[in-house]
Amino acid sequence: MEELSQDAQKRIDEMFLAMRSENYFRTDKLFSYLMIAQWMFAIGCAVFLTPSAYNGSVATLHPHVWAALGLGGLLTFLPCSFIFLRPGEAVTRHVVAVTQIGMSALLIHLTGGRIETHFHIFGSLAFLAFYRDWKVLVTAAAVAALDHLLRGIYWPSSVFGVSAVNHWKWMEHAGWVLFEISFLIPGCLKIQEQMRAVSERQVKLELMNERIEKNVQMRTEELANTQRQLMQSQKLEAIGQLASGVAHDFNNMLGGILAYASLLKEDYANDPHLVSSLGVIETSAERGAELTKKLLAFARKGNYEHTIVDLQKTIEEAVSLLEPSLDEKISVSIDLDKDLWPTEGDSTQIFQVVMNLAVNSKDAMPGGGKIKISATNIEADEPYCAIHKSVTQGNYVRLSIEDNGSGIPKDLQEKIFEPFFTTKQPGSGTGLGLSMVYGIMKNHKGAVGLYSEEGHGTVFHLYFPRSRKVAYREPASARVAVVSKNFLRGQEILLADDEETLRNAGAEILKRYGASVHAYEDGALALAALEKNPERYKIIILDAIMPKMNGIETFHKMRELAPDAQFVFSSGYAESSEITDLRNRFAVKFIQKPFKAEQLAREIMNKKAA
């Protein structure tokens, strides 16, 4: 049985009282009509049955007519005045009860004491029971009993037909009234009980409706939130595509600059002045490359993927983007456990979560402070979940973003995840940041925990479920520190890149290390070359994005022809999940454009060594 709250109990009481009160009002009104009707009936009886009294042949108006008019009028006016002035009140009901019994007495007299008219008393009691108030019946019965008692004392023959009677004889008559109310009173109490039960059912129904409405509202808000997120992601995707295209083209340009600068440095190693100038070019190109890397990181927003996430890398990227905008008085520290469990998700979304929370931390510390980003493995068992209510049992990687800022007041802590809720100045915040954090964590089947003390700071815990998949790890043993000249001597390398500058630069670099390079402008041409002589090429370098046939498709076809060949992917875009998947399955290599001569050589060398 569902336990009802104190408020619900109060509501039941209110509803019951309202229902009872409505019945009192209704019955009062009914009695006002009945009283008038009875009065008219009394006048009718008097006029019809006893119109005149006689003294010989002289007729006068019978006193019964006056009694019907006067006493009947008073018996009607008194309850009606109460019903008009004090409707629904207890005193009105009792006045109605007394006058109703008085009306019975009058009618009995006016009809010559007929036994039939005595039934008016019993009818009146039944009518008074409409009030569902047992006390009214007691009053009516008491008046009837009192009437008989007084008659027994002053006019005994009017009740008992004899002049001298036993003092207790009146009880015999009152007994019939008591007999009737002994049935009516339990009936009234039972109906009151039923009224309470109806009130209880009504309140339960109201509560259920409230819950349904709340659920609908919550779902509607969730839908609206999802729609906002979708719009936001579509916007980000559009910007991302633009940024991605710019970064890609820029990378290709930088690729040419960086590759040829590094080649020239080798060619003119004896000219320190030239080497120094080329070093400046190389450094500038590398800074440009860093910038495009950030652009690419941003560009991936909206293009959600579900892969094993490198939390370390994601957090470092976020911090590197955040740091330039931070006040000098704010310091950021990162403390990640060494053996974090793998977790699945979208690194860009996680990046976004970290950024949002870190920006909030920054805003909470206008006078400066510390932001600490940490991650640790958590085995959330029952006791842990009892303390951290937002978490269900399981294994998680807990990412925490902590600050020692102003903190969040207790009364706001429940609202901060609601869309458009913000404490920031208009124009400073959309109120969507934390709702997006909540939504993203929900997408990751994770949870968000919050602990905050006003004036001391806030810590957000993000719980990412542990994944059983294994992340790709670069084999440490395969790392080669120094690249030797001519290490590619005698090697025939197949290279496919649609960007002429990079294709030529790549070929040139590889030739410097002794390789014989066959470069093609797309995957289809390179595949055709391999088909002619599948045994010829042991190292194949493929640009990931190419017209006609892209690198991935080319890879799959080439692998059928030359299963023993070593494949290296290069791209001006960030590493896609497909390439990560190939890295895990077939141990292919990936090199991010732009690259210096030595970087390419090192990757090839590592690949060979592996």
């Binding site: 006893t50 119109p51 009294a53 042949s57 009694a67 006493l71 008194l78 109460f82 007299h109 009017s158």
Partner: protein
Amino acid sequence: MNNSKMSLISLFLCGTLLAVGFYLFEEYNFTAGAQVAAPDRFPGSVNAIILDKQVPTLLVFAHPKCTCTTATLTELSRLKTKLGAQIAVKVFISYDPQDEFEGQAIERQARAIANVDVEKDLNRTVAKTFGALTSGQTMLYAPEGNLLFQGGITESRGHEGVSPGALEIARIVTGPFIKSEFARMPTFGCHL
């Protein structure tokens, strides 16, 4: 003036008027009509056929339009039904020559009672002989002509139900007719 005060004033005024009104009403109902002593012996001036020689004779005097006498006749009917042949009943309905009392409700009601003689008492001659002044007055004479009972057979004005008068008549008729048993009860009704 607020509703509460007005209602209390109404309660006080109506309550007082009702108490006084009901008291006066009851007083009216229980005020007996005028009555003088009936002849102890059945008067010889009256037609001797009126007096039954076997059973007691009950004389009932009624005003032809007195509505209170309706109750008397109802009770008379019950009494006659109860006592049957043990009592002879004669109803005298008074009237004046100028009045058209013929066919009035009282006469019809009286004639409807089985085994009851109904006679018109022109100019209230018989009533005057027996000293009857109030409608509903009865007198019970023994077959020997002595008065056994005098009074009404309703407990109040026009009120049906068991009455001391009717009970007394029944007691006398069903017992030995002893002179000392004579009883007098009040009569409730209009003046004849």
